[in-house]
Symmetry: D2
């Protein structure tokens, strides 16, 4: 994607460990493997079974947390979170995991997704005198869990999860437990791995590879998975507030599973994870991301062939698809852009127009000069960045430019965790493909079809959410979703 | 006092502005004038009538907040707080003013004092599902204010203040109002001044002098004073949640006053403010602090005369009383110690025993050598610092040491905002004066009497709390006061 | 290269501007484009024709210098430097550009390369009473320039440059001039561009592209190029100490050129710039780096063909060559590794073994599983990193591994600016190719030939230094080169 | 003095240790005891007999150096420096001690004073090709020591010290020696103490008191004192470049003394050390500073008696003299100002007029209201600060103000280390006492006489420099002294 910094921002990355030495340090490394899912803040919370300690900060993991900050974070249980805010502004209180204390003790929670009834929940609780600490939708979980009504049920956490709407993958931690859950439609990914005699959960499997942890399976939509020592019958009842009474052991004495919602008739897994969000070396929703993207390129080449000299990618998001395109088309793959990896997030000088784009990608003039060039990218959002980059190819002497996109046109907003801009700013929302082509100044433009997309992911529209392309939302948003609606007015 | 850093720590300082340009900057300066009341953290919250913005940090005002941090804090309303924690550990969330959002909007609050039923209040609210953000007693105010029961009364703030026990001076701020209140017994000071066409409140009048603000009067015990534009009748009702409906205008259209408690039969003003806490250039509870201290020295000289060569002070807390002592006794005043003012809060090197005392005060050998010396200090708490300093005088060749204390022996704990150590560590708690004299290694030791103290403050035991000397507590502490009881176990 | 962080470190990057508005800001951006040439320190020096101001710091450009640091660096002349120390430890004084004052005024200098007679020069000057500020070889330039013997010649700078041995590209700056020079054999690159009505010089042309500056030509080996206003005849003589008297104007009134050494019979351009150092989007020594690398891959495929399923690169250094290899061999290109670009320079936790490699590169299991894989990398230095990465491919299920290297075996040290490890640590120094193959645990291993390398760069051994492969040094090192020999013993 | 921050700035403070465990840590503490002598920068250099390590920074000692910075500074030899620049701007290179390497090895040097022929020396050396690192006059020492001419003499350090003019107290350190010296007229103080089995030197004896070090004597004017192990005859010759060959042992095997200049006929000890610079708890030039100041007050009361109600000091510089004045006059001493010790060095907000004065000192209204007040201060420089403070007393209701100054009028510049403003800005330079009184707006003004001053210090004009009062300079300044003349034009 031409502009993942300015156009789409990743949502969040989650990680959790149970029964693993140096859990906080491992969390720190794992969050760096998930850094592409959120660069605005990072947090680590650890428990040594007695005390819960945390460290959070703004920026990249390596900026937010210094290795020495982890020294006090002892213990074999930890969770971590990287975030780009889909709701809530960039305030220190909003950094997750949230660590809160309520009548049942301390719990930490990290959330990836977007709750569509969070404002209603908040208004209800505020009317009853509750006070909210953050401007994030994620805090709704905590108030629901602390509600005496839910505490009176056999599974207070399950009761709380049943009350929220929208998308969520969550990791929770008490002094001695790690808990993971996904919403009933499975919007956001969350996977489980075995690590030594303990367990690990993460948004993407690439985090498992750091430790050679063995990917066991994913958390099921509508499932709560709990990691912890089995307690004696005497203390079992209610001894941990997040543990449902009577829940059954699952695949090992340390892992139990229960459902808070019945098995779904259909799923709404976010197809954009495969198109753009996830790392190519991850398996997401049971598929290799790289292989899906490579197939997207192949299918795109078949759907929209073109006579040209070379194929180039917009790095890095278009790399896999460009390879597939070159292979299927028989055209030669070359490098049209070089990315400067040292320029992570260039601040713009006061009084300067942005130089971010120019610093990050530079054209290889000798590669494109005089050539008919197929340019492969993963998606187009606003179109401004794509346009600038295509223009720089033209300036470098490219004779023809054929832009091929491994996603269908994005025409609708997302209420489930992707921070697309206002639909009015989506270049494809109110334009024909020909109008977009004209805007971008290319000789031809083509997007993959939704059917082609489904073929590449080897799935169906009953399994994946494609609402941003089709407008066919899997659930009705119960509120007028405004990601800033919940903001304090401070 | 020989050891205000290690022995007693000041509680808190409050300041507030309404209708004053650059209110945040003025708050910043005023907090520096009140810096002696708290060095652990500082916070400023400002409103431009539309948005409320805040900046807080750990350490001295000049460390916690940089001038450029104030640039965004626009507006003519602001409150500020410096703190030494009497409850709650040194965590970033605990820094005041607390800024919270509840059903009625945003409110910021700064508190000086100690609530004795805060744990009970917290337990009640947690049982009802509420979540607490801080480990401070001050958060109780907020939950009481947000409680629908109190919101249903004509004066929700008054209702909330009636439910708390213990000591408090508070400043609150909404988008367009500044509110100040003191507990019904008036433990902690809070004064009002006129500044241009606006208003200022502060814990001590020395903060007014920075701006040549005119000290008008003190907030009365049991009184709520509110600063803000008079609202039209249409929007008056409940338009500001902290404003009682039907409260009457006071001395100007912009100032209203109401009582949340009937005028008290007796007061419990903290006499330690005059002995040690307050700055000598302040007026506290209607008296000049310097003059009270000077009279303490005079009375002490009369109660416990001694034949000696010179009078010296333990700087700076004994300076005013030493002058009064020298004047009343006819003995010559000299300087026995020089204080190094650059050594504010020396951190101790890892693996070193403390060098704080030695760095801060150094003996003037030539002044005391061969002399019979009267040493005047304001109080003795643990006695360890006094002992070290007296010993250094002896090492420098002082022939006789006569220690005179401008407070009675401290023998009892304080539940109303002074962070005395555990009574078991008070040197006078279980020792006779002779035993303390022996411990300190001086030739004579004498304390002022409680009657002498009352004479110096020109007050009575019905007006001042003297519990730390007499054990005669003005109210029963309803809970076992443990300042850390409320701590999260994180 | 498998391990540019631990094995080879880039030397330095230079940039300079003359007659260009906001020269310091442009230098800041340009240094980021050259960041791959040095990550240890960065410095910017600017002149507004009246005052010279500088800012330097340790780390990446974005760490060493904040945008607001540039605000005071006014003027239209500036030079900048990024550095990995080839001599001198990481001390603040060693950060370049050096700014020094001597009898002729102030001069700033940035140097890329390595002087082989710096220790002798230093000893000579110290014996005469001179004092050295840094432990870098670069300071030798300054003392030579300040020497009255050289000042007495018509071209003191030329005289100084004639006395140093070894490799250098240098940029110098006085209050109103910018000067660039290269050693007589042209070891290190330095190019000239026109930018508006002013000029720009840089180690690599990729820095020009940021500003759409037009690459005019390179500084010639043995040439001094000077940018500045022509001075009136009255003040011309000696008015700028670095300007040779009587030097002739070159291509414009603002650019003059002179030689400090006769045109060389042969050159010694560093071929490693093309193999690994330079950015693929640069032109270096008149050749496109990407195209050279692509050809290296093609030639490698022809010299050492292999029957396999896929070709993968070690990213990013092997990317261009892998493309060329796939194209020439007809094998399918795939992605075997995904690089985590957020992990720039991971600090290792105290008490942890390095996790750097694992965090940076992760295998795409699905791409390599069961496959016969050709792995293309640019070079092998110590071999440890390569070995670890190849092992991770094997662990992921690669059936065969064929390692292809687009450089000949590195068997000799470099005295001209590349910080190779001690030859004893070069894996190829004392091993046959078969022994290296065995050490790396691959099924086959092949390096490009020196002739193949020359074919790819379209040059001859008379034009390029290939000493690290052949041991055939273009000049005799006059001293026992020890990059730390010059260190102060502080 | 009403304005030591804006009017006079202290020069420098020196400290050195030899043969004392944890010498760097002790230096750190000792520099804090000398903090009043310089707040712009601080530096510590330590030797473990093998390596010399240093840490320097801008600001107060506690800002410039963190305790953990000292961890690597091992060894039992160290020197330290705090500085307010009398020459050289506030640049990091200018921070002392300077650590330089020359032909004889490494030497560190700290300097208090001002060399009047530094520009000539610099010009000479620059003409010979030498390069200067700093813009301080102190660097002249180093170049003289490195000069082969001086190295050829039996005592190169003595030869170097004979070539400089002006004022200096210096401490030098090599890997195994500590050396201290004072200029031949003894302008600046430097004292020696015994500490355990080692030695300590410091600008003021108050630094000795921190460690209970025993003040032995002062370094004599024209003397070089050297601390170090006696070396065997074999290695003695020239083994340490700063050790004169053949110098004789002094009072112990570890201390030697030699003269670089004959005993002086007269001295020029700076009387301002007693009036204002030194801490009252120090002994300087053999006199107790507090007692001198107390006597200044007594003599002032006798020279210029006044009928008044109270005596107050401008704190803290007037405190001792005010006590003496009150005692001699029989008037009552009171506190007219309270100083806010938390406001060390208030930065002024952008766009604000200074609030420094108001934040630092506040009037005790109740003490001065309606009173006839004698105000005692140590000196008047520009007069602006005094004027503002006297005005604030008037505003608080003082009925009469009688200003008494314990120094004569300052009418001449200082070339020997005091950073007075330009004489044109000295309020007394071109005004009669009556005109100054009128400017200050007081009812009477009187200065002590020069004879009274000499009586108080119990010395003569042959022993003390009184040039700032009398214009009678002890030596001719050989150059047009301009403290910024040596500045680089950077």
């Amino acid at each position: 994607m031409g502009a993942h910094i300015s156009d789409i921002r990743h949502h969040c990355g989650l990680v959790g460990f149970w029964g693993v030495p140096d859990a906080a340090k491992k969390t720190y490394y794992a969050l760096q493997a998930l850094q592409h899912r959120g660069q605005e803040s990072a947090g680590v919370v650890a428990s040594d079974r007695s005390r819960i300690r945390s460290k959070k900060g703004l920026g990249l993991v390596s900026e937010a947390i210094r290795p020495r900050d982890l020294v006090p974070l002892a213990g074999d249980i930890a969770i971590g979170h990287v975030r780009y805010s889909t709701t809530g502004t960039q305030r220190i209180q909003n950094i997750q995991p949230l660590v809160i204390e309520y009548s049942q003790g301390i719990v930490a929670i990290g959330h990836n997704g977007n709750l569509t009834n969070a404002r209603t929940i908040r208004a209800d609780y505020e009317a009853r005198g509750s006070i909210f600490q953050t401007s994030t939708d994620s805090e709704a979980f905590v108030h629901l869990m602390a509600d005496p009504r839910n505490l009176a049920t056999p599974d207070p956490l399950g009761a709380a999860l049943r009350e929220v709407r929208g998308s969520f993958a969550v990791v929770l931690m008490t002094r001695d437990r790690l808990i993971a859950a996904r919403d009933r439609l499975g919007f956001r990914p969350l996977s489980i791995a075995k690590l030594g005699s303990g367990w690990m959960v993460a948004s993407e499997t690439c985090a498992f590879d750091l430790f050679d942890a063995e990917h066991v399976r994913d958390v099921d939509p509508g499932e709560i998975v709990e990691f912890g020592e089995k307690r004696g019958s005497g203390e079992e009842k209610g001894s941990d507030p997040l543990t449902a009474r009577g829940s059954d052991p699952f695949s090992s004495p340390f892992l139990s599973s229960r459902r808070f919602a019945p098995p779904p008739q259909k799923l709404a897994q976010c197809v954009f994870e495969h198109i753009y969000f996830a790392r190519p070396d991850s398996r997401v929703f049971g598929r290799s991301v790289h292989k899906v993207r490579y197939r997207l390129g192949e299918i795109l080449a078949k759907e929209h062939p073109v006579d040209a000299d070379i194929v180039i990618a917009i790095p890095d998001s278009g790399n896999s698809a460009a390879m597939g395109f070159a292979q299927a088309s028989g055209l030669r793959l070359d490098r049209g852009f070089i990315r400067n990896y040292y320029v992570g997030r260039t601040f713009i000088m006061p009084g300067e127009r942005s130089s971010t784009v120019e610093l990050k990608l530079n054209v290889v003039r000798e590669a494109v000069q005089g050539k008919r060039v197929v340019v492969v990218d993963d998606s187009i959002v606003r179109g401004t960045t794509s346009r600038a980059r295509l223009k720089s190819l033209r300036s470098a002497g490219a004779r023809e430019l054929h832009f091929r996109i491994s996603a269908p046109p994005i025409r609708h907003g997302c209420y489930f965790g992707i921070d697309f801009p206002d639909p009015a700013k989506l270049v494809a929302a109110n334009r024909t493909v020909e109008q977009v082509r004209d805007y971008l100044g290319v000789d031809s433009l083509a997007y993959i079809s939704v059917d082609g997309l489904m073929e590449a992911v080897r799935g169906t529209r009953e399994e994946f959410c494609t609402a941003c392309f089709t407008g066919d939302y899997p659930v009705k948003a119960e509120e007028d979703m405004d990601k800033h609606a919940m903001e304090r007015r401070t």
